[in-house]
């Protein structure tokens, strides 16, 4: 069944993204992993929209792409500022919120 293959692809992509977010030390890589997770969700959206023959799945996917672009912009700006302050983009170095 075609849908299953799409869902498996989305799940694999999401797992790769989660791994990247949790394991990578480079903040840019973390951001890229987040993009992977978002795109995994997009694949699910389009797949389910196709399956149920409604366009709203694809429309949501387009919205998510647009918002993700904005999010990456903000995220990269934060990373840039972090680098300027600390000369590092290693997420292990940032624990200012430690309780």
């Amino acid at each position: 069944m075609l849908l299953n293959q799409f869902l498996i692809l989305g799940a694999v992509l999401f797992c790769i993204g989660v791994y990247g977010v949790l394991a990578r030390k480079n903040a840019v890589m973390v951001l890229m992993s987040i993009e992977l997770m978002l795109n995994a969700v997009n694949i699910n959206m389009v797949a389910f929209g196709f399956q149920h023959e409604v366009v709203s799945g694809q429309v949501f996917a387009l919205f998510i792409i647009a918002v993700a672009a904005a999010e990456v912009g903000v995220g990269l700006a934060i990373v840039l500022l972090l680098y300027r302050n600390q000369t590092s983009i290693d997420v292990e170095d940032f624990d200012l919120m430690k309780g």
Binding site: V91, K98, G99
Partner: protein, 721 residues
């Protein structure tokens, strides 16, 4: 008759003047020119009062049909019906016909009721005006004296630190007094009564920086409060008996059926007598009046001689049927009112001998003369009392303003020992003072002679019986009045000047009012001349004007009040007593005859003098004996109650509260509440210690927890569903 129906304007004008002076005087007119407002307002009401008086005389002389009281067989009709039967009242008027030029038609008062003031428990409290001859007479007296005092004060209190308040209070007093005299019902009467009391209090204490003035103001106020209780109770009794507050209604009801409510009226009259005693300075509540001389002298002239202190006399005259019936004035030959009045007259005259303060002599003289008026009312001589009120207002105001003028000249002292010989320095004041003294003493042909003569005659003839005791009192007072006033004239104006500095005559703004008042003291008697005096001149029509115009015969005729015929012998006796009083004193002081130094030589005379000097020890009686004796047992009782009842209860409550507090502290507070609070705190502490390790500040640790938790939840979700 427009003025009579719209009489409310007369008190309204000085009331507005009061508000303007108090709120705008200082800022917009200037503190030293506020008298302009007061004088303008009082001049206006003076004119209006004269218009009202003129219109009232027109109403009596040419009564229109609606002015004639309708008296039906079953009593007095107080509806002023307008049918044209001109002589309906005349037939009833058999007893008030004799005695001079009394009108044979009964003229009804102009009663205007404006609106319901307020309503309570089905009882309506109206507000309105009651205008008749008595009212317009008082209007003219109050407005005239007030106007002269306003003018006189511009010089006397010039530069005073509370000039604005002084004039504001004068205006308020004038408004209150005018409101009082035209009260339509007894509630308004009480309100006006209290208002003039407040003004009196405020003006006695005008210079309140000095303690004696404050004390005098408080004494006046508190003594009046004693009588005010009587006033309230008396008014409530009247209302309970007749079911109406209207003065017209109460008087008409008694006049229609005299004697039917005798007991209630006796109670009401006794209570109201207490009020009269306090306000009009009658024994035994007169002690505040001499102390009230602490106020500025023009105030003493206006309030404590001419107008406010006659409020009690006015109240008796206004509600005369109540007293007439209550005290059985018509049939007895002695009664409470006549006795109080006569005794007060005698006592006041006696005290006037032992005073060195000129104002206090005049104050006791006022007490004495007020006693005369009350005595006259007590013997049934209504017109004589009101006529004496009228003449007395002018010559006593003249005397007080004269005393003020003397004090103004002689460095603000009222002590006669520091005066003397002022005749040559201030002739204007001297002559006006002498004229007023002659009037007060009752020397022919001055005003006091005519009114005093009528009182003595009234006491002699009485109604059904004469009042011999009152006649003796009256004659003694006539003699004493002449004597003590001559003493004042001697000490103040004759002999050598004993003060310091150079006394000088007062300016015109003070002497002109004196001359006007002295003029009234000369001609004031002409308003109620007996018929025989006028007959030789063919002027019988002018006889007994006060009686004709002022007497509310519409009420009094139902009581059967009669007027004595003029008696030449009585007039000669009165005149002889007054002249002998003057002559004896003249011989004593001018010719140095008689027992000089008797009070030093003779211990009985000395004791008598001390007795007088200490004002019969009445102040001691009130303060040291009555107040102290009441104070001690009450204080002891209160102490016992305090110690044994209140303290015990408080202590028991305190101890039990303490014990229960201890128990609660030990078991509930410490055990339960503190325990649970501490446990919660420890739990929070421990969990915080444990959980703080989770908050590493590292984003990825949070992410791990988040995704781990999400995974666990997902597994749970899958298994459970």
């Amino acid at each position: 008759m427009w003025m009579l129906e719209n009489a409310f304007l007369i008190p309204l004008i000085p009331a507005l003047s009061f508000a303007v002076i108090l709120f705008f005087g200082k800022r917009f007119i200037g503190a030293d020119r506020v008298h302009v407002i007061g004088i303008t307002a009082v001049s206006l009401i003076w004119v209006l009062s004269l218009v009202a008086a003129f219109q009232w005389t027109q109403r009596v002389e040419h009564p229109s049909p609606d002015a004639i009281a309708q008296i039906s067989a079953d009593g007095h009709g107080d509806d002023h019906a307008d049918d044209g039967d001109d002589h309906a009242g005349a037939a009833m008027d058999s007893e008030s016909g004799h005695g001079g030029g009394h009108s044979s038609v009964l003229i009804s008062p102009v009663v205007t009721t404006y609106s319901k003031w307020w309503s309570n428990g089905g009882v309506d409290f109206a507000v309105g005006t009651h205008v008749d001859g008595l009212t317009v007479l008082l209007l003219v007296v109050v407005a005239s004296i007030s106007l002269l005092v306003h003018i006189y004060s511009t010089e006397y209190v010039k530069g005073d630190r509370r000039y604005v308040h002084y004039y504001a209070f004068l205006s308020l007093f004038t408004a209150a007094m005018l409101f009082f005299v035209m009260a339509q019902n007894i509630v308004q009467l009480v309100v006006g009564w209290e208002l003039v009391g407040v003004c009196s209090f405020g003006l006695i204490g005008h210079w309140w920086e000095e303690k004696p003035n404050t004390d005098a103001a408080l004494k006046a106020f508190l003594t009046n409060r004693v009588g005010d209780i009587g006033l309230l109770v008396g008014m409530i009794v009247l209302w309970g008996t007749f079911g109406t507050f209207s003065i017209d209604g109460i008087n008409a009801a008694i006049s229609a059926s005299p004697g039917t409510q005798h007991l209630a009226l006796l109670v009401a009259a006794c209570c109201l007598m207490a009020a009269v005693a306090s306000k009009s300075g009658q024994f035994p509540l007169h002690t505040w009046l001499p102390d009230a001389m602490a106020g500025p002298t023009p105030v003493s002239a206006l309030i404590h001689a001419a107008t406010m202190v006659v409020a009690g006399v006015y109240m008796i005259a206004r509600l005369y049927p109540v007293f007439y019936d209550g005290f059985s004035i018509g049939t007895s030959s002695i009664n409470l009112m006549a006795l109080i009045g006569g005794f007060t007259a005698l006592m006041g005259a006696g005290l006037a001998f032992a005073q060195w303060d000129i104002k206090k002599v005049l104050a006791y003289s006022t007490v004495s003369q007020l006693g005369y008026m009350v005595m006259a009312l007590g013997v049934g001589a209504w017109t004589a009392a009101i006529f004496h009120l009228f003449t007395h207002a002018f010559f006593k105001a003249c005397l007080f303003l004269g005393a003020g003028s003397v004090s103004h000249a002689a460095h603000h002292t009222f002590d006669m020992r520091k005066m003397g010989g002022l005749k040559k320095f201030m002739p204007q004041t001297y002559w006006t003072f002498v004229i007023a003294t002659l009037a007060l003493s009752g020397i022919f042909p001055f005003a006091g002679f005519w009114s005093k003569d009528e009182i003595l005659l009234g006491a002699k003839v009485g109604q059904q019986n004469g009042y011999p005791l009152m006649l003796i009192f009256g004659c003694a007072v006539a003699f004493m009045t002449a004597a003590y006033m001559t003493r004042v004239v001697w000490y103040t104006f004759h002999g050598e000047y004993r003060g310091h500095g150079h006394p000088h005559e007062s300016p015109k703004v003070m002497t002109v009012p004196l001359w006007i008042l002295a003029g009234m003291a000369v001609v004031g008697g002409a308003f109620n001349l007996p018929g025989p005096v006028l007959e030789p001149f063919g002027l019988e029509g002018l006889a007994h004007r006060v009686q004709t115009y002022a007497e509310p015969s519409v009420y009094l005729s139902g009581l059967g009040l009669s007027h004595p015929d003029p008696s030449l012998s009585m007039a000669l006796i009165g005149l002889g007593l007054a002249l002998s009083g003057i002559i004896v004193t003249y011989l004593y002081f001018w010719r140095k005859m008689g027992p000089h130094g008797l009070t030093e030589r003779n211990k009985y005379a000395k004791a008598g003098y001390t007795f007088l000097e200490n004002k019969y020890y009445l102040d001691y009686l009130y303060n040291d004996i009555i107040v102290a004796s009441i104070k001690k047992p009450i204080a002891n009782g209160a102490n016992w109650f305090n110690q044994n009842v209140l303290d015990k209860a408080v202590n028991t409550a305190g101890e039990s509260a303490r014990d229960s507090g201890r128990w609660i502290y030990k078991w509930i507070d410490q055990g339960a509440i503190d325990g649970s609070v501490n446990a919660a705190a420890r739990g929070a502490d421990a969990s915080g210690e444990g959980l703080r390790t989770i908050q590493s500040g590292k984003v990825q640790n949070y992410g791990q927890l988040l995704f781990g938790a999400a995974a666990v939840l997902a597994i749970v979700f899958v298994i459970v569903i």
